[in-house]
Symmetry: C2
Subunit: 917 residues, 2 copies
């Protein structure tokens, strides 16, 4: 090798000339030494693909020889606004010489030409996002030389036409359409359906025509100098790092923008050199179910892009055994070796060239949530990974996906009977999705932003479509298999997907699809089942998944529980919620909102009468007594369901007018009655009601008479609630149930408010307990949901045994943003245009809201060291926010019952990764 | 003297017996030594009155001999739940012996009896609040002895009946009514009008009857033992410290409750020993105007209580010269001496006993705002006090009172012509008041709390009435002069008062007053002018005072400006406000709200059309261009008025729906049109408008699409405002006006918002300045009115050259309280019941809102050391809040133009008293 390998330590001290921009695949040890052994740094420098190719080469896996241009070179190129860094090109040429030696062929040599592929490879895999050029090194003369060498004119011009198109589109930015149109025309002329049926002369003709298209579109000839091709291709890969779709993808997948991409230049091997050649992709385990069995597709006499692009529908990998048992055995052996080597399920690309197996790539395989969980648990049991690794390999997003709603089987059977199931495709990404059909990505995105549920429908998807896919509830294609672009992206982002549903005739221009004589127009509702591949017309009813049956997930979450430090509570207003919360693993109820109970049909008239009665009057007392019986039963049910666990009951929170009819509607009704003139009593009633509602009306109800303010102005309501609560608790205690009520005051901003309510609660509690002759241990605490409460937390803690951060309201008041008003009107605009990094109602805003939480925890604990602190806003179920809660030293998070499994896992991750503050 | 005087230093080491509870007036030097010279501590120990009597005695002023029982004794008595501290009574008796020696009379001696007065005296003067007993030491036998000694039976029994009544009411708690009723009856029997006309036998009879009443009401005889009288009287004074009216007064005047009161026992001198005797009260300067001239009243042959209680209408002090020139000269001399001694205007009480002048009390005189200002300025010019003292002697409350609205002279003349002026009384406390007549204190208080303007109308007022007086806008009495209870209290609290309007026949039972045949019922509106004493039926229009004519105040405020460190800006939306602000001494406009300009009649339709047009459309541009011309004129006017001073212009703040018609009204109108069915076009228009308004509607508009959010979603509006602003500025610059625009962004919660607006402002500003070919220096800054903005102030300061705390909204969001909704519904309840110490919308809440301000100042200055920081909420004009602003290190406060003088003074006080943080 001509390049002097400079030992890493001395490198920095050398001149610029010594900077290494290029490494051969078999120099992997040298690279790893340079970065002091860190594999992560190897991946940063060479990209995931380059590092993998080097690693495979080192592991003696048959990899076509090649070299990697580093990510540093890419960054230097971009920083210099399109100039290769000094000496890079020379290193490329020298490395190419080395590859020529290994391949026994020469780049640009008419007699024995070396062809190469040029591929991007960033640190993190970004499927379809970066550009690839195959068969580079061909020109008119070399093509003819190769025909002589191989005697296979068809193969050579198939390869050459591919190069011209790929180079044209990827390097020169020509639209694919003129190429594809011409190809379609040729096939129609020849009366054939698939590319494989075309003959040598056809491909030759296609190549010439492609060169014309190239000239027409670019104003230049297709470059005949192979080195110029290489130079332009490398530049194109570098530039594509900042292409729109790459940036979009990184934004969506949270990948930093400053990593850069490496370029891999590798000897071409050909899957399209006749029937003894082929190409395929495979996963070492099933990426949908996690089953331990090779999973993938291959195509004989085809190049790799044909498999992934979904243009031809490929054959399952298992069939390779019949095709060539020896190669299959070798492949299985290599796959197992790679899985053991990387201790993870692998996604491999291979090519068979005239009966010889080449591995082109390996990487950790994308997988569905279900698969991720099963693989993690299985691998732990196979002793391949530890429990901690298993827990860390499953993301909260996986759990969310796994517990997505599913179609109701009964409803599905009904739909089938009625003929509403119109097609079946590949079950590419599991989950049940219902939405309106949108036939392009832009529309899907637009509708998605307008909060419509969308199913994006395409013949096949391309990287340009990702923004629409991300905005959709489901993806449906008529072409491509389980490894097609649509399938891979859908699985990664947890979007249900059915692909290759070939019965569908999708007409993009007419914006409709036809299947079995039925026409589905854009905007019509359809349902797809990504777990079964079924496609339905109209909406199919969905049900919550059966957590009890998710054995793998339950095992994994049990392990997560061993690692986490945060308690996981659930927000539950009814006994049925409380039971579900327990089933999902909640250790308490962090928020029981009593107002929901008030809204029930049979109670609302009593609630309204109570509101309208004079505070402190006999009448008020009568209505409250009625409500007390209802409340008693509510509390009884919840306490019973949470036997042994704490239940935090929040006293009435919303402003009273929420329980009253709408003023405008009353006004309209009064106007109507006045005109009719025949029901004076009813008119009087409505007018009186209007006056009452008018009196309760508020300009900013969120900041009005609610929570503790209501408790102070109308203490009889609170007393009723506390009385019902303690009666239920005492009764259950008699029945042997272990009750732990915690009573929570809402919307507090002064310690005096908590003090008042505490005294009221203690008084009523003592009365009831005396009456029952029993003692129930209980706590009194406060929500911290207003900035002032956080700022004076030391004062609040004087009267509070626990704090519960109401992060919804705390976010609203800290930002001065009413969520109801903001999301449609400006908040989405803010997130989209970067005014805010995320929607603060989904992820805790650490700078503002988080700062208040930290102040409150610190001041509160200082005043009362054993203060119990938790969070009960929607953020309680958000993984990022849970990390914050861990950092802030909270005792627990409380979230909706459905979010409990997610929270359990996120809390484990937080504990494993984070430090407690 | 029998009591061993223990040197102060050794005192603490002595036994309890040595504790001194009682001091003779002439022991003042001893007391002052004991407390190491501190006059404040002397006053704490002896009370203001006791200290003053001692001080006068020391200054050789003729003071009847006596002694003071200390406040410590009172506190010890109250702490021991009604037991005199050990040795106190013995010290009283010993001191009494010393007084007997000085007076040449003996307590309880039938032949030559010493009578004493027993008076309370707390550290801070509380007129009428504490109880007094005169003529103590009389009994049946001593009365007869005195008759023999003086030969004046009338005088003796007049004194005796007073003792029985006072002792009965003050010590034993008997209602005054039976005494007063009997006295009225006797006068009617005798056919006389005033007490003076009653003869010796009448008083004897009255005395006997009073003793019967005493027995009937208490079940005991009037105590004949003078020592028992003294003991009970001292106890009564002690107890009265915790009486309801004393506690109320202290609450109102912010006097601590733990000071206790001293008791002064003093030799009686008699103003009612015939025509050579008399009594009076006087101020060394006019307490209403501040004029340097003795001011007061006296009555010959009367006791002190007759003057103050307003039962007989007294004679001006100047007339004493005619009555007795020698005494008058002596009195003038003493008054001058006292004023020089105390370096303040004095309020003195005197008695002439058979031609000998005795001074009974001196204290700093209560005064009106006008008087306070003039006296402070005059005394500085007389070199009696320093400028700083002058500034500190005037309170912000004084300035507020002085700049109270006054009646419009033209309106008054009109009213007089129409016969609406019904009476004239004493101009006891200046100011113009309009309100409904309330005939008792409880009703006045009730109505006052319900936000009705009340004039409390009484024949005369008593200490029990203070709660009603404080809740009233004005006080009107038919009896009593400028030193009556009503007058003194009204002046102290700045309530306009007309007293002694004798033409009024007030019938408390019928709850009406009759004057000149007109009957005014309770609840009728009346107007009183406390500066002229005029009383009107109905409402007289008020106008703002002419600051330009307030020469003394202007002088004082100019001195205040020398001391203060805070800049004083004004909130001004129009040129007229800006001009007034300058006149009042503002050094800039701290807040110019541009939205008020949008509401003007001719603009509103354009504003509405602009709102309804598509953002970014041609149509929007057309409407905005129209508005730009209006705005240009607004800004031109304000900048011109503030030539040389900064003007902070806030870009559009309120949500757009505030400019639109009400949805419910539109709905009703649409319903009406639908029923009529004859104006389909109008119906369509209304329905379209409804849809538009519906789209803009918000649940919590305070937290909605407003301020910077509007600027981001509809940047064309902001661009229009900035363009108009810079056009006006450039034009004025050409005209030689010195403009300093500062552009302020509102409702910000993220730095990105400020950055966006800053860029927009800079872009537009550069365009306009280029167009005009001129350069205007300007600043861009942000309101800090949301908790998050304060918490991330370091980030905000990156893009802000100034912060302006919008404490109204900051208080609303920090507390989560909507002011509009809260004040009526629960906030008053909160303040009244002690849930909050004060209304946080009036006085800055230091714990919560203040904490955020401090964080923001600190973080903001850290990020930008020369950051300009001010406040522009309503708190900017509140004295307490200004003290906070000084402490927090703000650069300026901005308040309404009318509040500017108050703010100038408060800022000077804050600088003199406080330390900068």
């Amino acid at each position: 090798m001509a390049i002097a390998v400079v030992p890493p330590k001395k490198r920095d001290a050398q001149t610029k000339i010594a900077k290494r921009w290029v490494f051969l695949f078999d120099e992997i040890d040298t690279v790893q030494e340079m970065v002091e052994g860190s594999w992560d740094k190897v991946r940063s420098l060479l990209g995931g693909k380059g590092a993998g190719l080097g690693d495979m080469t080192r592991a003696k896996v048959p990899v076509p020889p090649g070299f990697t241009v580093t990510t540093e070179a890419c960054n230097a190129y971009l920083a210099a606004k399109g100039k290769f860094p000094e000496n890079m090109w020379e290193q490329v040429l020298e490395s190419l010489k080395e590859v020529e030696k290994k391949a026994g062929k020469s780049f640009g040599d008419v007699k024995n030409p070396l062809l190469v592929s040029v591929r991007s490879g960033a640190k993190f895999s970004m499927p379809g996002m970066m550009d690839t050029v195959l068969n580079l090194g061909l020109n008119d003369a070399i093509a003819e030389g190769m025909v002589k060498l191989t005697g296979d004119e068809r193969f050579v011009y198939d390869a050459y036409r591919r190069l011209v198109q790929m180079f044209g589109s990827v390097v020169m930015g020509i639209d694919d359409e003129p190429f594809e149109d011409y190809l379609t025309e040729v096939k129609r002329e020849r009366g054939v359906k698939s590319d494989v049926e075309l003959k040598a002369e056809d491909w030759k003709k296609v190549t010439r025509e492609f060169e014309k298209i190239f000239r027409k579109e670019t104003g230049e000839d297709f470059p005949q100098d192979p080195y110029r091709q290489l130079e332009l291709a490398v530049e194109a890969v570098f530039k594509s790092w900042n292409g729109k779709r790459a940036v979009d993808y990184r934004n969506a997948a949270n990948i930093p923008h400053n990593l850069g991409t490496a370029v891999n230049v590798q000897t071409m091997v050909f899957g399209n050199m006749g029937d003894q050649s082929g190409t395929g992709v495979a996963f070492t385990r099933n990426p949908a179910t996690g089953q331990k069995k090779l999973f993938g597709d291959f195509l004989m006499n085809a190049q790799g892009e044909d498999v992934v692009a979904g243009i031809r529908t490929p054959v399952p990998i298992a069939e390779l055994e019949r095709e060539n048992a020896e190669i299959y055995a070798q492949f299985v052996d290599i796959a197992n070796k790679l899985e053991r080597h990387y201790r993870n399920m692998q996604d491999v690309e291979f090519t068979i060239e005239r009966g010889k197996l080449w591995m082109l790539q390996t990487r950790d395989g994308k997988r569905t949530a279900r698969s991720a969980v099963r693989i993690a648990v299985d691998m732990e049991q196979e002793k391949l990974i530890s429990k901690q690794e298993a827990v860390q390999r499953v993301t909260p997003q996986h759990v969310i996906q796994l517990l997505h709603p599913q179609f109701d089987d009964v409803a599905k059977q009904e739909a089938k009977k009625m003929g509403r199931m119109v097609a079946t495709g590949v079950n590419a990404s599991p989950g049940a999705a219902v939405g309106v059909a949108a036939f392009d990505a832009d529309l899907a995105e637009k509708w998605g932003k307008a909060k419509r549920s969308v199913i994006m429908v395409r013949p096949e998807t391309k990287p340009d479509d990702v923004h629409g896919m991300l905005a959709s509830r489901g993806i449906l294609t008529s072409r491509g298999g389980a490894t097609s672009h649509a399938a891979v992206v859908a699985r990664q982002f947890g979007v249900p997907c059915v692909c290759g549903a070939e019965a569908l005739e999708i007409d993009i221009r007419k914006r409709q699809l036809t299947v079995g004589g039925v026409v589905i127009h854009e905007g019509d509702t359809i349902s797809i089942d990504g777990s079964t591949g079924e496609v339905f017309i109209g909406e199919i009813e969905r049900i919550e998944p059966e957590f009890a049956h998710e054995t793998y997930l339950r095992t994994l979450l049990a392990w997560a529980d061993e690692f986490r430090e945060l308690g996981i509570y659930a927000n539950a207003d009814y006994p049925v919620d409380a039971r579900r919360a327990r089933e999902y693993g909640a250790q308490g109820v962090g928020l029981c909102r009593t107002e929901h109970m008030f809204f029930q049909e049979e109670r609302l008239p009593i609630v309204q009468a109570m509101i309208l009665s004079e505070p402190g009057s006999e009448e008020e007392a009568v209505h409250l007594e009625k409500l007390r019986h209802f409340q008693h039963d509510d509390f009884y049910g919840i306490f019973k369901a949470m036997d042994g666990y704490p239940v935090i009951i929040r006293l009435l929170d919303p402003p009273l007018h929420e329980f009253m009819p709408d003023h405008e509607q009353l006004a309209m009704r009064a106007a109507g009655l006045r005109l009719m003139g025949d029901r004076p009593n009813e008119l009087t009633r409505v007018e009186e009601l209007m006056t009452a509602v008018e009196g309760l009306r508020e300009f900013n109800p969120m900041l009005g008479l609610r929570g503790v303010r209501l408790g102070i102005v109308r203490p009889a309501i609170s007393a009723m609630q506390v009385s019902a609560l303690f009666e239920a608790a005492c009764q259950l205690k008699r029945e042997g149930v272990d009750v732990h009520p915690e009573i929570m005051v809402a919307v507090t901003s002064s310690a005096s408010e908590v003090k008042f309510m505490r005294e009221l609660i203690e008084k009523v509690a003592n009365e009831i307990m005396e009456q029952f002759g029993c003692k129930v241990e209980y706590k009194v605490g406060t929500m911290i949901e207003l900035p002032r409460a956080a700022l004076i937390a030391d004062q609040m803690a004087q009267y509070s045994e626990f704090f519960s951060f109401g992060t919804n309201d705390l976010t609203q008041t800290t930002f001065g943003i009413s969520r109801d008003d903001a999301e449609g009107k400006f908040l989405l605009h803010y997130v989209e245009h970067g005014f805010l990094p995320e929607n603060p109602f989904q992820v805790i805003d650490e700078d503002g809201v988080g700062a208040l939480i930290e102040v409150a925890v610190q001041k509160g604990r200082k005043a009362r060291p054993n203060l119990e602190v938790g969070i009960c806003g929607e953020h309680g179920g958000d993984p990022k926010s849970i990390h914050f809660c861990q950092k802030a030293g909270l005792n627990y998070v409380s979230c909706s019952p459905f979010r409990v499994p997610v929270a359990r896992l996120a809390a484990a991750h937080a504990a494993l990764e984070g430090k407690r503050s």
